[in-house]
């Protein structure tokens, strides 16, 4: 009857010095869904997804991926499992080109002896791939794929990070405010991309402050408050203003039995 969650977190605690960023919080992501995480600034949204992907190590609690407990000591391990993350503070190397950034750590080598013996990179192939992915996102204002990332506008950088995650994810994707810096057109593409990814069966965790976006794409909405999972609601059953009210503490969360802790059995 119950589907196995892709990610299951129980009683996670993370403290930074004397700040408790996550306070015994639970977390569930199910196959094929878009789970939105909303909450006030500083509620601990970034912290909890960082704990899931290994960018920080939780002080307490247990994280299971597809039922198996994991203890990532670095996001690299998460990546090897096919988990991709778009960080709020973007993880791009400013002086490297867009293509270099997209392929960091999984470069393509030339076929034949140049690749195997001389380990030469296949720059052409990587550039083509990078350009295609950016074009899919509609980020055509980029003048050259060999431009250093530091010469891009804030929104353009965000686009590069999103394109990278979408291109390489196999298990699930975490996006921490992916549209925050994007223009209207570019935001729309990201939302379409999220739906494309879901259509491929890859679940997505989407952190966002943009309620219309959240209500448009999310299957379930995880409301985070004061370091805890405050409620999980169904965006089709609750109004935006109620969700915002719960999130900001203006309204009590619905009783647990009315919450949407797991997706409805299809």
């Amino acid at each position: 009857m119950t589907v196995q969650p892709v990610v299951q977190g129980r009683g996670i605690v993370k403290r930074y010095g004397h700040v408790t960023a996550i306070d015994h919080s639970d977390f569930d992501l199910y196959p094929g869904e878009v789970l939105a995480v909303i909450g006030d600034n500083g509620a601990g949204k970034s912290s909890i997804v960082k704990a899931i992907c290994g960018a920080v190590q939780p002080d307490e609690g247990e994280i299971m991926i597809e039922g198996k407990p994991v203890h990532f000591s670095s996001p690299l391990q998460a990546r090897e499992m096919g988990i991709e993350i778009v960080y709020q503070q973007l993880a791009l190397s400013p002086a490297l080109s867009i293509a270099d950034n997209m392929f960091a750590g999984r470069e393509l080598r030339k076929p034949g002896i140049m690749g195997t013996v001389f380990r030469q990179l296949d720059k052409k192939a990587m550039e083509k791939f990078a350009r295609d992915k950016l074009t899919e996102l509609g980020l055509m204002t980029v003048q050259s794929i060999n431009q250093a990332v530091e010469t891009l506008s804030g929104g353009q950088r965000q686009g590069v990070a999103v394109a990278r995650a979408a291109a390489f994810a196999r298990k699930f994707i975490i996006m921490d405010e992916p549209t925050a810096a994007l223009g209207v057109k570019e935001s729309r593409r990201v939302l379409e991309l999220i739906q494309d990814v879901r259509a491929k069966g890859i679940p997505i965790i989407l952190i966002s402050h943009n309620m219309p976006h959240v209500f448009e794409v999310a299957d379930r909405v995880h409301i985070h408050r004061l370091g805890k999972r405050h409620a999980v609601v169904d965006p089709n059953k609750i109004t935006m203003s109620d969700a915002v009210a719960i999130m900001t503490g203006a309204q009590e969360p619905p009783p647990v039995e009315e919450q949407q802790l797991a997706p409805k059995a299809a």
């Binding site: 996001p75 993880a91 960091a104 001389f118």
Partner: protein, 356 residues
């Protein structure tokens, strides 16, 4: 029920009609622009130009005394040790590190080669391998401390400098192995000293090795994944880590490569001075850093071209020889080299500014 239509917000309805062409901006054209662009994209060009200019100036001032195959190849020979060490230093500096222990590692490696043959009687070829292994091991220790224990490279290599140097003095008992003995029993040690004379030009294998090493590193840094990772780490280590680069492995390999190259420098040193002397190389760290920085590699990491360090080392060599031939005395030469370090970097900075 959601208040907004699932097809996006109303005002987005017009998006479908948005143009999708690539933005076209007016571009500046012309020769000046091309020069600027070239300078901008090839950071090694500036030191190359400074190098050529300084050769021309000294050539004009000194005539054939300086502008002769003999003198010019002499410069190559004189900078070979600093040059090879600067190659190692460049790698480390590209990762935003610094290696103060290069000179000490170089000397200890040469001492290990010498002592393993002359004290323990190992065949010279085996001793050379042991020396190279020794250098790599020292680099490995540096790398572990930097990458795993996460100590600042400056402090790690400052400590290792003292440790390796003291080990070198203790182990060698401050004894020099004489050139005559090496020539008789282990000529392999002097391999890099072999001279090829073409007319007045005198190239040593060591000088050729230096040039080949730089070309090799330039290839590796530009054309392989490892090279891109070195740049990415120097640029922003945390971002590199988050974007999936195994920063620890790369860092350790960089320090090991640095140690290995220093050991080669130690071997070349024996070729150059003939003997194995534990008091060599005390200034190799400062001199190699000078070469790297004059060569336009940023001390903050991630920017610059390894070939620049070769030109940087040669610039210092040209000025040293040129000034001495002009009759400046040693302290005046140091003073002028000091001025030139600052001037070279100021010029570099200025050209870069113009070119953006």
């Amino acid at each position: 029920m959601s208040e907004t239509a699932s097809k996006g917000q109303d005002y987005e309805s017009s998006l479908s009609g948005a143009t999708s062409g690539v933005a076209e901006f007016e571009r500046r054209k012309g020769a000046l622009y091309s020069v600027q662009h070239a300078l901008h994209t090839n950071p090694a060009l500036v030191p190359l130009i400074v190098l050529v200019l300084s050769i021309v100036v000294f050539g004009l001032l000194l005539g054939s005394k300086f502008f002769s195959p003999f003198a010019l190849t002499l410069i190559l020979q004189q900078v070979q040790i600093v040059g090879i060490v600067a190659a190692a230093q460049s790698l480390v500096i590209l990762t935003a590190g610094i290696d103060l222990s290069v000179g000490a590692i170089m000397v200890l490696s040469s001492v290990v080669m010498g002592q393993f043959t002359f004290r323990y009687g190992l065949p010279p070829a085996v001793a050379v391998l042991c020396g190279l292994a020794c250098g790599t091991l020292m680099g490995f220790i540096n790398g572990i401390l930097v990458a795993k224990v996460k100590l600042p490279p400056f402090i790690v290599t400052l400590g290792m400098w003292q440790i390796v140097l003291a080990t070198n003095f203790l182990y060698s008992a401050n004894e020099t192995i004489r050139a005559q003995d090496i020539e008789a029993q282990a000529p392999l040690f002097q391999f890099f000293g072999t001279v090829i004379a073409i007319g007045g030009a005198r190239l040593t294998y060591g000088a050729i090795f230096m040039v080949v090493l730089f070309l090799f590193l330039a290839y590796v840094l530009k054309q392989t994944a490892w090279g891109r990772h070195v740049y990415a780490i120097g640029d922003d280590k945390e971002a590199a880590e988050l974007s999936g680069i195994e920063t620890d492995k790369v860092l350790i390999s960089v320090y090991m490569a640095s140690g290995l190259i220093c050991a080669f420098a130690g071997w070349a040193l024996v070729g150059r001075i003939g003997s194995v002397s534990p008091t060599s190389g005390q200034l190799a760290n400062i001199e190699s850093i000078t070469a790297v920085v004059i060569g336009g590699i940023s001390l903050f990491g991630g920017r610059g071209d390894v070939l620049g360090s070769l030109f940087g080392a040669l610039i210092v060599g040209v000025f040293t020889l040129g000034l001495r031939l002009l009759g400046a005395d040693a302290q005046w030469t140091y003073l002028l080299i000091g001025v030139l370090i600052i001037a070279a970097v100021a010029v570099d900075q200025w050209i870069r500014k113009v070119s953006t």
